[in-house]
Protein backbone atom coordinates (compact mmCIF):
# COMPACT_ATOMS: atom_id res chain seq x y z
CA UNK A 1 0.00 0.00 0.00
CA UNK A 2 1.24 3.49 -0.90
CA UNK A 3 0.36 6.75 0.85
CA UNK A 4 1.21 10.37 0.02
CA UNK A 5 1.84 12.73 2.95
CA UNK A 6 3.17 16.22 3.67
CA UNK A 7 5.79 16.19 6.40
CA UNK A 8 5.08 18.77 9.12
CA UNK A 9 8.22 18.44 11.23
CA UNK A 10 9.63 21.68 9.74
CA UNK A 11 8.52 24.41 7.29
CA UNK A 12 10.07 22.59 4.28
CA UNK A 13 6.93 20.49 3.95
CA UNK A 14 8.53 17.59 2.05
CA UNK A 15 6.10 15.45 0.03
CA UNK A 16 6.56 11.95 1.41
CA UNK A 17 5.64 8.65 -0.16
CA UNK A 18 5.18 5.91 2.41
CA UNK A 19 5.03 2.29 1.28
CA UNK A 20 3.80 -0.51 3.50
CA UNK A 21 4.41 -4.11 2.60
CA UNK A 22 3.87 -6.64 5.36
CA UNK A 23 5.82 -5.49 8.41
CA UNK A 24 8.13 -3.11 6.60
CA UNK A 25 7.45 0.60 6.13
CA UNK A 26 9.63 2.60 3.76
CA UNK A 27 9.55 6.36 3.44
CA UNK A 28 10.82 8.28 0.42
CA UNK A 29 10.75 11.94 -0.54
CA UNK A 30 12.05 13.03 2.88
CA UNK A 31 15.22 15.14 3.05
CA UNK A 32 16.08 14.37 6.69
CA UNK A 33 15.65 11.55 9.25
CA UNK A 34 12.82 13.40 10.99
CA UNK A 35 10.74 13.03 7.84
CA UNK A 36 11.20 9.26 7.90
CA UNK A 37 10.04 9.14 11.55
CA UNK A 38 7.03 11.27 10.77
CA UNK A 39 6.03 9.18 7.76
CA UNK A 40 6.25 5.91 9.72
CA UNK A 41 4.24 7.22 12.66
CA UNK A 42 1.59 8.74 10.42
CA UNK A 43 0.83 5.48 8.61
CA UNK A 44 1.24 3.08 11.52
CA UNK A 45 -0.12 4.93 14.57
CA UNK A 46 -1.19 8.51 13.86
CA UNK A 47 -2.17 10.51 16.95
CA UNK A 48 -3.53 13.99 17.64
CA UNK A 49 -4.21 16.30 20.56
CA UNK A 50 -7.92 17.26 20.54
CA UNK A 51 -9.03 20.63 21.87
CA UNK A 52 -12.63 21.72 22.38
CA UNK A 53 -14.84 23.16 25.12
CA UNK A 54 -17.18 21.88 27.82
CA UNK A 55 -20.36 23.54 29.10
CA UNK A 56 -20.14 25.15 32.54
CA UNK A 57 -22.99 25.73 35.03
CA UNK A 58 -22.80 28.78 37.29
CA UNK A 59 -19.65 30.21 35.73
CA UNK A 60 -18.56 33.66 34.58
CA UNK A 61 -18.42 32.09 31.09
CA UNK A 62 -20.74 29.50 29.51
CA UNK A 63 -17.79 27.32 28.40
CA UNK A 64 -14.46 26.13 29.61
CA UNK A 65 -11.82 25.24 27.01
CA UNK A 66 -10.39 21.70 27.29
CA UNK A 67 -7.81 19.39 25.72
CA UNK A 68 -6.86 15.74 25.77
CA UNK A 69 -4.10 15.33 28.39
CA UNK A 70 -1.96 13.58 25.77
CA UNK A 71 -2.29 12.68 22.09
CA UNK A 72 -4.96 10.12 21.21
CA UNK A 73 -5.29 7.80 18.20
CA UNK A 74 -6.48 9.80 15.21
CA UNK A 75 -9.42 7.46 14.53
CA UNK A 76 -10.80 8.20 18.02
CA UNK A 77 -11.15 11.98 17.44
CA UNK A 78 -14.90 11.92 16.78
CA UNK A 79 -15.64 9.44 19.63
CA UNK A 80 -13.78 11.73 22.04
CA UNK A 81 -15.63 14.77 20.64
CA UNK A 82 -19.00 13.07 21.18
CA UNK A 83 -18.13 12.51 24.84
CA UNK A 84 -16.86 16.08 25.29
CA UNK A 85 -20.11 17.38 23.83
CA UNK A 86 -22.20 15.40 26.35
CA UNK A 87 -20.13 16.65 29.31
CA UNK A 88 -21.20 19.38 31.77
CA UNK A 89 -19.24 20.76 34.70
CA UNK A 90 -19.82 23.20 37.55
CA UNK A 91 -17.86 26.39 38.20
CA UNK A 92 -15.30 27.06 39.50
CA UNK A 93 -13.00 25.23 37.10
CA UNK A 94 -9.25 25.72 36.97
CA UNK A 95 -6.48 24.96 34.47
CA UNK A 96 -5.55 21.28 34.77
CA UNK A 97 -8.83 20.10 36.39
CA UNK A 98 -9.82 16.67 35.08
CA UNK A 99 -13.32 16.82 33.57
CA UNK A 100 -13.43 13.33 32.02
CA UNK A 101 -11.10 10.66 33.43
CA UNK A 102 -11.06 8.33 30.41
CA UNK A 103 -12.43 9.78 27.19
CA UNK A 104 -14.02 7.21 24.86
CA UNK A 105 -11.90 4.35 26.18
CA UNK A 106 -8.62 5.94 25.06
CA UNK A 107 -7.30 6.00 28.63
CA UNK A 108 -6.73 9.70 28.11
CA UNK A 109 -8.22 12.39 30.37
CA UNK A 110 -9.93 15.59 29.28
CA UNK A 111 -8.50 18.54 31.24
CA UNK A 112 -9.52 22.19 31.55
CA UNK A 113 -7.22 24.73 29.86
CA UNK A 114 -8.60 27.89 31.47
CA UNK A 115 -10.03 29.18 34.72
CA UNK A 116 -13.76 29.85 34.98
CA UNK A 117 -14.78 31.42 38.30
CA UNK A 118 -18.16 30.89 39.91
CA UNK A 119 -20.68 33.74 39.79
CA UNK A 120 -23.69 34.04 42.05
CA UNK A 121 -26.72 34.91 40.01
Amino acid sequence: MKQELTCIRCPMGCQLTVEISGDSVTVSGNTCPRGADYGKKEVTAPTRIVTSSVKVRGGELPLVSVKTASDIPKDKIFDVMAEIRRCYTDAPVYVGDILIADAAGTGCAIVATRNVERVNS
Binding site: T6, P11, M12, S52, L63, S65, K67, K74, F78, T113
Partner: protein
Protein backbone atom coordinates in the same frame (compact mmCIF):
# COMPACT_ATOMS: atom_id res chain seq x y z
CA UNK B 1 -4.78 64.28 35.97
CA UNK B 2 -3.52 60.86 37.07
CA UNK B 3 0.13 60.09 36.63
CA UNK B 4 2.03 56.84 36.04
CA UNK B 5 5.58 55.97 35.03
CA UNK B 6 4.65 53.44 32.32
CA UNK B 7 1.18 52.87 30.86
CA UNK B 8 0.60 49.88 28.59
CA UNK B 9 -2.27 49.97 26.11
CA UNK B 10 -3.64 46.43 25.83
CA UNK B 11 -3.61 43.40 28.15
CA UNK B 12 -2.99 40.64 25.61
CA UNK B 13 0.24 38.66 25.29
CA UNK B 14 2.24 41.75 24.25
CA UNK B 15 0.90 43.98 27.03
CA UNK B 16 1.43 41.33 29.72
CA UNK B 17 5.03 40.60 28.67
CA UNK B 18 5.79 44.33 28.31
CA UNK B 19 4.51 44.97 31.86
CA UNK B 20 6.69 42.17 33.24
CA UNK B 21 9.69 43.47 31.26
CA UNK B 22 9.25 47.00 32.65
CA UNK B 23 8.83 45.74 36.20
CA UNK B 24 11.87 43.45 35.93
CA UNK B 25 13.93 46.48 34.90
CA UNK B 26 13.15 48.53 37.93
CA UNK B 27 9.90 50.37 37.23
CA UNK B 28 7.21 49.56 39.81
CA UNK B 29 4.64 52.13 38.70
CA UNK B 30 3.25 50.26 35.68
CA UNK B 31 -0.43 50.23 34.64
CA UNK B 32 -2.11 48.01 32.03
CA UNK B 33 -5.27 49.31 30.32
CA UNK B 34 -7.48 46.62 28.76
CA UNK B 35 -10.81 47.17 27.01
CA UNK B 36 -12.09 43.59 27.38
CA UNK B 37 -13.48 41.99 30.54
CA UNK B 38 -10.35 39.94 31.15
CA UNK B 39 -6.63 39.88 30.49
CA UNK B 40 -5.14 37.56 27.86
CA UNK B 41 -6.40 39.16 24.66
CA UNK B 42 -7.03 36.99 21.62
CA UNK B 43 -5.36 33.96 23.25
CA UNK B 44 -8.57 33.44 25.24
CA UNK B 45 -10.41 32.34 22.11
CA UNK B 46 -7.49 30.37 20.59
CA UNK B 47 -8.32 27.14 22.41
CA UNK B 48 -6.20 24.96 20.08
CA UNK B 49 -2.70 23.86 21.10
CA UNK B 50 0.67 24.77 19.67
CA UNK B 51 1.55 27.86 21.71
CA UNK B 52 4.69 28.32 23.76
CA UNK B 53 7.02 25.71 22.28
CA UNK B 54 9.91 28.19 22.45
CA UNK B 55 9.04 29.93 25.73
CA UNK B 56 7.90 26.98 27.83
CA UNK B 57 9.25 24.00 25.81
CA UNK B 58 5.77 22.50 25.69
CA UNK B 59 2.70 22.86 23.51
CA UNK B 60 0.08 24.86 25.36
CA UNK B 61 -3.36 26.02 24.30
CA UNK B 62 -3.93 29.78 23.97
CA UNK B 63 -5.77 30.18 27.31
CA UNK B 64 -3.04 28.22 29.13
CA UNK B 65 -0.30 30.36 27.61
CA UNK B 66 -2.20 33.51 28.60
CA UNK B 67 -2.79 32.23 32.12
CA UNK B 68 0.93 31.71 32.71
CA UNK B 69 1.58 35.37 31.94
CA UNK B 70 -1.49 36.54 33.86
CA UNK B 71 -0.29 34.58 36.92
CA UNK B 72 3.11 36.27 36.64
CA UNK B 73 1.54 39.72 36.34
CA UNK B 74 -0.64 39.04 39.39
CA UNK B 75 2.33 37.67 41.35
CA UNK B 76 4.33 40.80 40.46
CA UNK B 77 1.45 42.93 41.75
CA UNK B 78 1.18 44.90 38.51
CA UNK B 79 -2.07 46.91 38.47
CA UNK B 80 -4.46 46.69 35.53
CA UNK B 81 -7.82 48.20 34.59
CA UNK B 82 -10.33 46.11 32.65
CA UNK B 83 -13.32 47.37 30.59
CA UNK B 84 -11.30 50.52 29.98
CA UNK B 85 -11.07 51.87 26.45
CA UNK B 86 -8.36 54.30 25.42
CA UNK B 87 -9.85 56.97 23.17
CA UNK B 88 -6.78 59.08 22.47
CA UNK B 89 -3.07 59.36 23.11
CA UNK B 90 -1.34 62.72 22.62
CA UNK B 91 2.28 63.11 21.45
CA UNK B 92 3.22 64.29 24.97
CA UNK B 93 1.89 61.02 26.37
CA UNK B 94 -1.45 62.02 27.82
CA UNK B 95 -3.85 59.13 27.61
CA UNK B 96 -7.59 59.74 27.49
CA UNK B 97 -9.45 56.62 28.61
CA UNK B 98 -13.04 55.80 29.47
CA UNK B 99 -14.77 53.25 31.64
CA UNK B 100 -18.17 52.87 33.28
CA UNK B 101 -16.97 53.58 36.84
CA UNK B 102 -14.82 56.68 36.36
CA UNK B 103 -16.09 58.12 33.09
CA UNK B 104 -13.41 59.89 31.06
CA UNK B 105 -10.01 60.06 32.73
CA UNK B 106 -6.70 61.49 31.52
CA UNK B 107 -3.50 59.76 32.56
CA UNK B 108 -0.08 61.33 32.06
CA UNK B 109 2.61 58.72 31.46
CA UNK B 110 6.41 59.04 31.42
CA UNK B 111 6.41 56.27 28.81
CA UNK B 112 3.66 54.54 26.83
CA UNK B 113 3.83 51.04 25.36
CA UNK B 114 1.45 50.38 22.46
CA UNK B 115 0.26 46.76 22.60
CA UNK B 116 -3.20 46.91 20.99
CA UNK B 117 -2.77 43.94 18.67
CA UNK B 118 -4.38 43.60 15.26
CA UNK B 119 -7.74 43.19 13.54
CA UNK B 120 -8.97 40.99 10.75
CA UNK B 121 -9.46 42.34 7.25
CA UNK B 122 -13.26 42.66 7.03
CA UNK B 123 -15.61 41.86 4.16
CA UNK B 124 -15.84 45.52 3.19
CA UNK B 125 -12.11 45.60 2.48
CA UNK B 126 -12.28 42.57 0.17
CA UNK B 127 -14.79 43.80 -2.39
CA UNK B 128 -16.81 40.57 -2.53
CA UNK B 129 -19.79 40.78 -4.87
CA UNK B 130 -23.29 39.76 -3.82
CA UNK B 131 -25.91 40.68 -1.24
CA UNK B 132 -25.18 41.19 2.42
CA UNK B 133 -26.92 38.19 3.97
CA UNK B 134 -26.34 36.85 7.48
CA UNK B 135 -23.76 34.10 7.72
CA UNK B 136 -20.64 35.98 6.58
CA UNK B 137 -18.12 36.18 9.43
CA UNK B 138 -14.46 36.86 9.79
CA UNK B 139 -12.83 33.65 11.05
CA UNK B 140 -11.89 35.31 14.34
CA UNK B 141 -15.46 36.46 15.00
CA UNK B 142 -16.70 32.92 14.39
CA UNK B 143 -13.94 31.65 16.68
CA UNK B 144 -15.07 33.97 19.46
CA UNK B 145 -18.75 33.04 19.03
CA UNK B 146 -17.94 29.33 19.18
CA UNK B 147 -15.20 29.20 21.80
CA UNK B 148 -16.17 31.96 24.25
CA UNK B 149 -19.90 32.47 23.80
CA UNK B 150 -20.84 28.91 22.86
CA UNK B 151 -22.77 29.51 19.62
CA UNK B 152 -22.49 27.33 16.52
CA UNK B 153 -22.10 29.74 13.59
CA UNK B 154 -23.32 27.43 10.82
CA UNK B 155 -23.78 23.89 9.50
CA UNK B 156 -22.13 24.07 6.10
CA UNK B 157 -19.26 26.44 5.48
CA UNK B 158 -16.86 27.69 2.84
CA UNK B 159 -13.74 29.52 4.01
CA UNK B 160 -12.06 32.24 1.97
CA UNK B 161 -8.39 32.69 2.77
CA UNK B 162 -6.01 30.09 4.12
CA UNK B 163 -4.61 32.11 7.01
CA UNK B 164 -4.05 30.14 10.18
CA UNK B 165 -7.27 31.26 11.87
CA UNK B 166 -9.30 30.09 8.86
CA UNK B 167 -7.58 26.69 8.91
CA UNK B 168 -8.06 26.33 12.66
CA UNK B 169 -11.75 27.20 12.26
CA UNK B 170 -12.16 24.64 9.47
CA UNK B 171 -11.15 21.96 11.98
CA UNK B 172 -13.12 23.49 14.84
CA UNK B 173 -16.37 23.55 12.84
CA UNK B 174 -15.76 20.01 11.56
CA UNK B 175 -15.21 18.71 15.11
CA UNK B 176 -18.49 20.32 16.15
CA UNK B 177 -20.36 18.53 13.39
CA UNK B 178 -20.41 21.11 10.59
CA UNK B 179 -19.42 20.33 7.00
CA UNK B 180 -16.62 22.51 5.64
CA UNK B 181 -16.94 22.29 1.87
CA UNK B 182 -13.71 24.03 0.84
CA UNK B 183 -11.03 26.55 1.69
CA UNK B 184 -10.33 28.95 -1.19
CA UNK B 185 -7.03 30.84 -1.38
CA UNK B 186 -6.43 33.69 -3.84
CA UNK B 187 -2.67 33.13 -3.92
CA UNK B 188 -0.95 30.07 -5.45
CA UNK B 189 0.37 29.18 -1.94
CA UNK B 190 -1.21 29.10 1.50
CA UNK B 191 -0.69 31.89 4.01
CA UNK B 192 -0.96 29.40 6.86
CA UNK B 193 1.50 27.08 8.54
CA UNK B 194 2.06 23.65 6.90
CA UNK B 195 1.15 21.94 10.11
CA UNK B 196 -2.28 23.55 10.08
CA UNK B 197 -2.94 22.54 6.48
CA UNK B 198 -2.18 18.91 7.36
CA UNK B 199 -3.92 18.75 10.73
CA UNK B 200 -6.90 21.01 10.00
CA UNK B 201 -7.66 20.25 6.34
CA UNK B 202 -5.98 17.00 5.19
CA UNK B 203 -7.05 15.15 8.36
CA UNK B 204 -10.70 15.79 7.50
CA UNK B 205 -10.51 15.67 3.72
CA UNK B 206 -11.26 19.38 3.30
CA UNK B 207 -10.08 20.59 -0.13
CA UNK B 208 -7.70 23.57 -0.33
CA UNK B 209 -8.34 25.38 -3.59
CA UNK B 210 -5.28 27.52 -4.34
CA UNK B 211 -5.59 30.40 -6.86
CA UNK B 212 -9.34 30.57 -6.19
CA UNK B 213 -11.60 33.27 -4.82
CA UNK B 214 -15.25 33.94 -4.07
CA UNK B 215 -16.87 35.69 -7.03
CA UNK B 216 -20.43 35.68 -5.70
CA UNK B 217 -22.22 35.34 -2.40
CA UNK B 218 -25.71 33.88 -2.88
CA UNK B 219 -28.69 34.38 -0.58
CA UNK B 220 -30.63 37.37 0.62
CA UNK B 221 -31.55 36.79 4.27
CA UNK B 222 -28.96 34.08 4.96
CA UNK B 223 -26.08 32.80 2.85
CA UNK B 224 -27.30 29.94 0.62
CA UNK B 225 -24.07 29.37 -1.28
CA UNK B 226 -21.01 30.92 -2.87
CA UNK B 227 -19.45 30.82 -6.31
CA UNK B 228 -15.74 30.10 -6.44
CA UNK B 229 -13.67 30.95 -9.51
CA UNK B 230 -10.10 30.21 -10.40
CA UNK B 231 -7.84 33.24 -10.79
CA UNK B 232 -4.94 33.78 -13.18
CA UNK B 233 -1.46 35.07 -12.32
CA UNK B 234 -2.70 38.66 -11.92
CA UNK B 235 -5.35 37.39 -9.45
CA UNK B 236 -8.28 38.18 -11.77
CA UNK B 237 -11.07 35.56 -11.97
CA UNK B 238 -10.98 33.38 -15.11
CA UNK B 239 -14.39 33.31 -16.83
CA UNK B 240 -15.79 29.81 -17.23
CA UNK B 241 -14.15 28.41 -14.08
CA UNK B 242 -17.10 29.22 -11.79
CA UNK B 243 -18.18 26.49 -9.39
CA UNK B 244 -21.17 26.72 -7.07
CA UNK B 245 -20.88 25.55 -3.45
CA UNK B 246 -24.00 25.41 -1.32
CA UNK B 247 -23.35 26.60 2.26
CA UNK B 248 -24.98 28.66 5.02
CA UNK B 249 -21.76 30.25 6.23
CA UNK B 250 -18.78 32.01 4.67
CA UNK B 251 -15.74 32.59 6.88
CA UNK B 252 -13.11 35.15 5.90
CA UNK B 253 -9.48 34.60 6.84
CA UNK B 254 -7.84 37.16 4.59
CA UNK B 255 -5.14 38.79 6.62
CA UNK B 256 -4.58 40.74 9.81
CA UNK B 257 -4.03 44.48 10.12
CA UNK B 258 -2.27 46.16 13.05
CA UNK B 259 -4.75 48.38 14.88
CA UNK B 260 -3.01 51.75 14.98
CA UNK B 261 -5.77 54.36 15.34
CA UNK B 262 -4.33 55.40 18.72
CA UNK B 263 -0.81 55.51 17.36
CA UNK B 264 -2.04 57.93 14.69
CA UNK B 265 -3.63 60.16 17.32
CA UNK B 266 -0.19 60.33 18.97
CA UNK B 267 1.39 61.30 15.60
CA UNK B 268 3.43 58.09 15.49
CA UNK B 269 4.96 57.51 12.05
CA UNK B 270 3.64 54.31 10.45
CA UNK B 271 5.31 51.93 8.02
CA UNK B 272 3.06 51.48 4.95
CA UNK B 273 4.19 47.85 4.54
CA UNK B 274 3.71 46.54 8.10
CA UNK B 275 0.83 48.88 8.95
CA UNK B 276 2.58 49.31 12.31
CA UNK B 277 4.89 51.94 13.73
CA UNK B 278 8.35 52.70 12.42
CA UNK B 279 10.55 51.77 15.39
CA UNK B 280 14.19 51.94 16.44
CA UNK B 281 16.22 49.01 17.75
CA UNK B 282 14.79 49.95 21.18
CA UNK B 283 11.23 49.52 19.81
CA UNK B 284 10.70 53.25 20.30
CA UNK B 285 8.43 54.94 17.76
CA UNK B 286 9.05 58.29 16.06
CA UNK B 287 7.49 59.93 19.16
CA UNK B 288 9.91 59.95 22.12
CA UNK B 289 8.76 57.80 25.02
CA UNK B 290 6.16 55.88 22.99
CA UNK B 291 7.10 52.25 22.34
CA UNK B 292 5.37 49.57 20.26
CA UNK B 293 5.39 45.76 20.33
CA UNK B 294 3.45 42.65 19.35
CA UNK B 295 0.86 42.50 16.59
CA UNK B 296 0.23 46.26 16.64
CA UNK B 297 3.83 46.67 15.49
CA UNK B 298 3.76 43.91 12.85
CA UNK B 299 1.71 40.72 12.63
CA UNK B 300 3.55 37.73 14.10
CA UNK B 301 3.10 33.98 13.48
CA UNK B 302 4.17 32.84 16.93
CA UNK B 303 3.09 34.26 20.27
CA UNK B 304 6.51 33.33 21.65
CA UNK B 305 8.03 36.02 19.41
CA UNK B 306 5.40 38.52 20.59
CA UNK B 307 6.26 37.86 24.24
CA UNK B 308 9.99 38.18 23.57
CA UNK B 309 9.62 41.41 21.61
CA UNK B 310 7.24 42.89 24.18
CA UNK B 311 9.53 42.07 27.10
CA UNK B 312 12.22 44.09 25.30
CA UNK B 313 9.81 46.98 24.78
CA UNK B 314 9.15 46.92 28.53
CA UNK B 315 12.87 46.91 29.26
CA UNK B 316 13.57 49.80 26.87
CA UNK B 317 10.62 51.84 28.17
CA UNK B 318 12.00 51.35 31.69
CA UNK B 319 15.41 52.62 30.53
CA UNK B 320 13.74 55.62 28.91
CA UNK B 321 11.99 56.47 32.19
CA UNK B 322 15.21 56.08 34.18
CA UNK B 323 17.47 57.98 31.75
CA UNK B 324 14.86 60.44 30.58
CA UNK B 325 16.02 60.29 26.98
CA UNK B 326 15.65 58.44 23.68
CA UNK B 327 18.45 56.87 21.67
CA UNK B 328 21.00 59.33 20.36
CA UNK B 329 23.69 59.40 17.74
CA UNK B 330 23.39 58.75 14.06
CA UNK B 331 20.42 56.83 12.74
CA UNK B 332 21.12 53.90 10.45
CA UNK B 333 18.22 52.93 8.16
CA UNK B 334 17.31 49.26 7.85
CA UNK B 335 15.56 48.25 4.64
CA UNK B 336 14.24 45.16 2.94
CA UNK B 337 14.88 44.77 -0.79
CA UNK B 338 14.63 42.20 -3.56
CA UNK B 339 12.06 39.88 -1.98
CA UNK B 340 12.32 41.15 1.60
CA UNK B 341 9.10 43.08 2.19
CA UNK B 342 10.00 44.77 5.45
CA UNK B 343 12.25 44.76 8.48
CA UNK B 344 11.48 45.52 12.13
CA UNK B 345 13.14 47.61 13.46
CA UNK B 346 13.51 50.09 10.62
CA UNK B 347 16.05 52.30 12.41
CA UNK B 348 19.17 51.48 14.37
CA UNK B 349 21.24 53.69 16.69
CA UNK B 350 24.61 51.94 16.82
CA UNK B 351 25.88 54.00 19.80
CA UNK B 352 23.07 52.82 22.06
CA UNK B 353 22.31 49.40 20.65
CA UNK B 354 22.50 46.11 22.57
CA UNK B 355 25.39 43.77 21.84
CA UNK B 356 23.07 41.69 19.62
CA UNK B 357 19.93 42.75 17.81
CA UNK B 358 17.29 40.43 16.34
CA UNK B 359 15.85 41.89 13.13
CA UNK B 360 12.55 40.31 12.09
CA UNK B 361 11.40 40.32 8.48
CA UNK B 362 9.04 38.78 5.97
CA UNK B 363 9.62 37.76 2.37
CA UNK B 364 7.08 38.46 -0.37
CA UNK B 365 7.07 35.10 -2.15
CA UNK B 366 8.05 31.46 -1.69
CA UNK B 367 11.82 31.06 -2.15
CA UNK B 368 13.65 27.70 -2.24
CA UNK B 369 17.41 27.33 -1.77
CA UNK B 370 18.12 31.05 -1.65
CA UNK B 371 19.99 33.18 0.86
CA UNK B 372 19.23 36.19 3.04
CA UNK B 373 22.06 38.65 2.49
CA UNK B 374 22.85 41.57 4.81
CA UNK B 375 24.69 44.56 3.30
CA UNK B 376 26.17 47.56 5.12
CA UNK B 377 26.25 50.49 2.66
CA UNK B 378 26.26 48.05 -0.25
CA UNK B 379 28.94 45.75 1.20
CA UNK B 380 27.92 42.18 1.98
CA UNK B 381 28.59 41.28 5.62
CA UNK B 382 26.41 38.25 6.17
CA UNK B 383 24.84 35.51 4.07
CA UNK B 384 22.35 33.04 5.53
CA UNK B 385 21.42 30.06 3.39
CA UNK B 386 17.72 29.16 3.51
CA UNK B 387 16.23 25.94 2.18
CA UNK B 388 12.83 27.54 2.16
CA UNK B 389 11.32 30.93 2.92
CA UNK B 390 7.62 31.75 2.66
CA UNK B 391 5.47 34.84 3.29
CA UNK B 392 3.65 32.98 6.07
CA UNK B 393 6.81 32.32 8.09
CA UNK B 394 8.66 35.22 9.70
CA UNK B 395 12.45 35.21 9.35
CA UNK B 396 15.09 36.50 11.76
CA UNK B 397 18.57 37.92 11.26
CA UNK B 398 20.91 38.74 14.15
CA UNK B 399 23.16 41.81 13.91
CA UNK B 400 26.22 42.26 16.18
CA UNK B 401 27.05 45.71 17.50
CA UNK B 402 30.77 45.28 16.95
CA UNK B 403 30.20 44.50 13.26
CA UNK B 404 29.02 48.08 12.77
CA UNK B 405 31.51 50.87 12.16
CA UNK B 406 30.80 54.59 12.68
CA UNK B 407 30.37 55.35 9.00
CA UNK B 408 27.56 52.85 8.23
CA UNK B 409 24.38 54.68 7.15
CA UNK B 410 22.21 52.00 5.61
CA UNK B 411 21.65 48.28 6.19
CA UNK B 412 19.89 46.36 3.45
CA UNK B 413 18.61 42.80 3.71
CA UNK B 414 17.80 41.05 0.43
CA UNK B 415 17.06 37.65 -1.06
CA UNK B 416 19.75 36.35 -3.39
CA UNK B 417 20.12 33.15 -5.39
Amino acid sequence: MKQHKIVIIGGGPAGLAAALGAKAHGIDDVLILERDERLGGILNQCIHNGFGLHTFKEELTGPEYAQRYIDRVLAAGIPYQLRTTVAEITPNREILCVNAEEGAVTIKADAVILAMGCRERPRGALGLPGFRPAGVYTAGTAQRLMNIDGYMVGREAVILGSGDIGLIMARRMTLEGAKVRAVAELMPYSGGLKRNIVQCLDDFGIPLKLSHTVTKIHGKERVTGVTLSQVCADRKPIPGTEEYYSCDTLLLSCGLLPENELSKSASVELDPVTGGAVVSDRLETSVPGIFSCGNVLHVHDLVDNVSQEAARAGEKAAEFVKNGRSSGGTAIRLKGENGVRYTVPQILYADDMDEKLTVRLRVGDVFRNKALVVCYDGKEVKRLKKRIMAPGEMEEVTLQRDSLTDDVREIIIRVEG
